[in-house]
Symmetry: C2
Subunit: 331 residues, 2 copies
């Protein structure tokens, strides 16, 4: 039986290029006792993967050269030598960029009746959604009428942050790139206002959008956008530090000018990675699943067809070319 895999071929310096990946066809060896074979139907593409391509220390193990690229998938058990899994069961896995993957069951989550489209369990009702839930609620601790600013406001994480903050009675201000995203942010995701960071009037627009300052800044981007938002912080503001996508491909780090305002305004910054808080996942997934099922939490997906197109889709994600959650449909 044939498999297709995408391996890490080179460690990029700066921007990722298609040559950093290698598509290979391999034979699937038979299962050993205790193993299952999963057919991956959707592959999740997420900004954190850029960090795993580096040789440097990060919060998670790097991908070794020649290894399958790391990633979450949603799929179906097609063969099982593990009594806990039955063929036909829908699951999410960390099996990476490949059509099929074997597992001893570790890290494989059963989706039960999978009431929602499978891909949603890679986004709003998966890791990105829980990331939004944890960062906003556990670190940001929003109170009604506070102003919450979200960078990458329409992304897989940001889109959930904005909607959860709105449910808490906050004024929500999105930051996104371009008119299409900003229209989607306000029109579909319910942000009170969206500021386009690509606009020449970005800073003026940000000031106008935050007349009462900023109480929570959910940070996905970093760089000059962070510097701008820092100037709008209120006393006792909180910054859940989730991502810094503007820096992941930078060959020279941005020099942050306004760090001192964290002191002046007695701000909390907390870097986090959601996989380190497994005790919160069941509650978060339950709330997110219910919100999506009831139509109270909306989502949009950019779906790329075919494993072979995953590298370009990933590069597009890093450049902000997708709208909402980026997934690859594998079958």
């Amino acid at each position: 039986m044939k498999n297709k895999q995408i391996l890490l071929a080179n460690r990029p310096k700066g921007w990722v290029s298609p040559e950093d990946f290698n598509l290979v066809e391999t034979e699937l060896a038979p299962l050993s006792d205790g193993e299952i074979l999963v057919k991956n139907l959707y592959l999740s593409l997420d900004p954190y993967m850029r960090g795993r391509m580096n040789d440097s220390k990060s919060y998670a193990a790097k991908v070794e050269l020649g290894e399958v690229m790391v990633g979450a998938t949603a799929g179906e058990v097609v063969e099982s030598k593990n009594p806990k899994f039955q063929p036909g069961e829908k699951v999410t896995t960390m099996l990476g960029w490949q059509l099929y993957g074997k597992s001893n069951g570790a890290g494989v989550q059963k989706l039960g009746n999978a009431a929602l489209p499978l891909s949603v369990y890679l986004g709003t009702v998966g890791m990105p959604g829980v990331t939004a839930w944890y960062g906003l609620l556990e670190i940001g601790k929003p109170k009604a009428d506070e102003t919450v600013v979200v960078s990458a406001a329409t992304g897989a994480v940001g889109s959930v942050v904005g909607q959860l903050a709105k449910m808490k009675g906050c004024r929500t201000v999105g930051i996104a790139g371009g008119a299409t995203k900003c229209q989607y942010a306000v029109g579909e995701l319910g942000y009170d206002v969206c500021v386009d960071y690509q606009s020449a009037t970005f800073y003026k627009d940000l000031v106008a959008a935050t007349p009462a300052g900023v109480d929570i800044y959910f940070e996905n981007v970093g760089g000059s956008i962070l510097d701008a938002v820092l100037t709008r912080l209120n006393a006792f503001a909180r910054i859940p530090l989730c991502g810094l996508i503007s820096q992941y491909n930078a060959t020279e780090a941005y020099g942050l000018k306004n760090f001192g305002l964290l002191l002046t305004n007695r701000v909390l910054v907390q870097g986090f990675i959601v996989s380190e808080h497994p005790e919160k996942w069941p509650e978060a997934l339950s709330q997110l699943g219910q919100g999506v099922a009831e139509g109270k939490i909306k989502y949009h997906e950019t779906i790329t067809e075919g494993l072979e197109n995953a590298p370009l889709a990933f590069i597009g994600l890093l450049k902000g070319q997708n709208l909402g959650k980026q997934v690859v449909k594998l079958a």
Copy 2:
């Protein structure tokens, strides 16, 4: 009856100069009912005063031009029309840079029998000591065997941080400017090691001093020293953000390069100002007072004689020319 006062004459751009202050002689008006007259014996000089000289928003009200410079004093009640205070009582006040001050009693703390030298209530057993206590214990939450790095390690705040951290069983690493301070840090304050930021080998020395990384960075300085320490942080490190003295006189803000490591290492940064946590002062002052009385907490003071020399002493403080707590003896 004559008083002498130092008023804010100009708002400095960049470095403070003696011309930014104005020494005046004034008449003391008679007390009204409910007022007390305090003879200030010691004036505290502290880095936060630099922020109060600016026109910009800060965490505390700015000093207006022509107003007495803000500051804590330790002194004695010499006249009272307030039944709560008796002449002869020792007190600390916020009466500022002047020989005498009137008060209705608000912000005046009685020192009781004042078992320690009066000036200590402006330092280790005063606001700077409580700042150290609060930032280290309430934000840093040190655990035994963790590595605690302290910038401005021999200053009024830093010297207490280092000693409290040592009491908690931590490895303590000071950062200070010059051999004299570093010798004092290790020889008297009990730091395990002190790194001289003025040395050409500063970064190499810092790396050597933190073989197990850094769990708590008590930040008083900012700028390039912060950038250096950021590279040494362990996962889940905490940064009590107390001061950024390297930036207070800068005309251009330092561009911080390593902010991204706060995410990679899931770091907590918390800016704070100790006056906003009055509920913790009694416990902190009690512990600090006992520690000093028993000789377990050491301190050093740089004592400048005469109100007229306060401006130069303050400028020296901002340049790091003092050792330990900077006070001005007024009488």
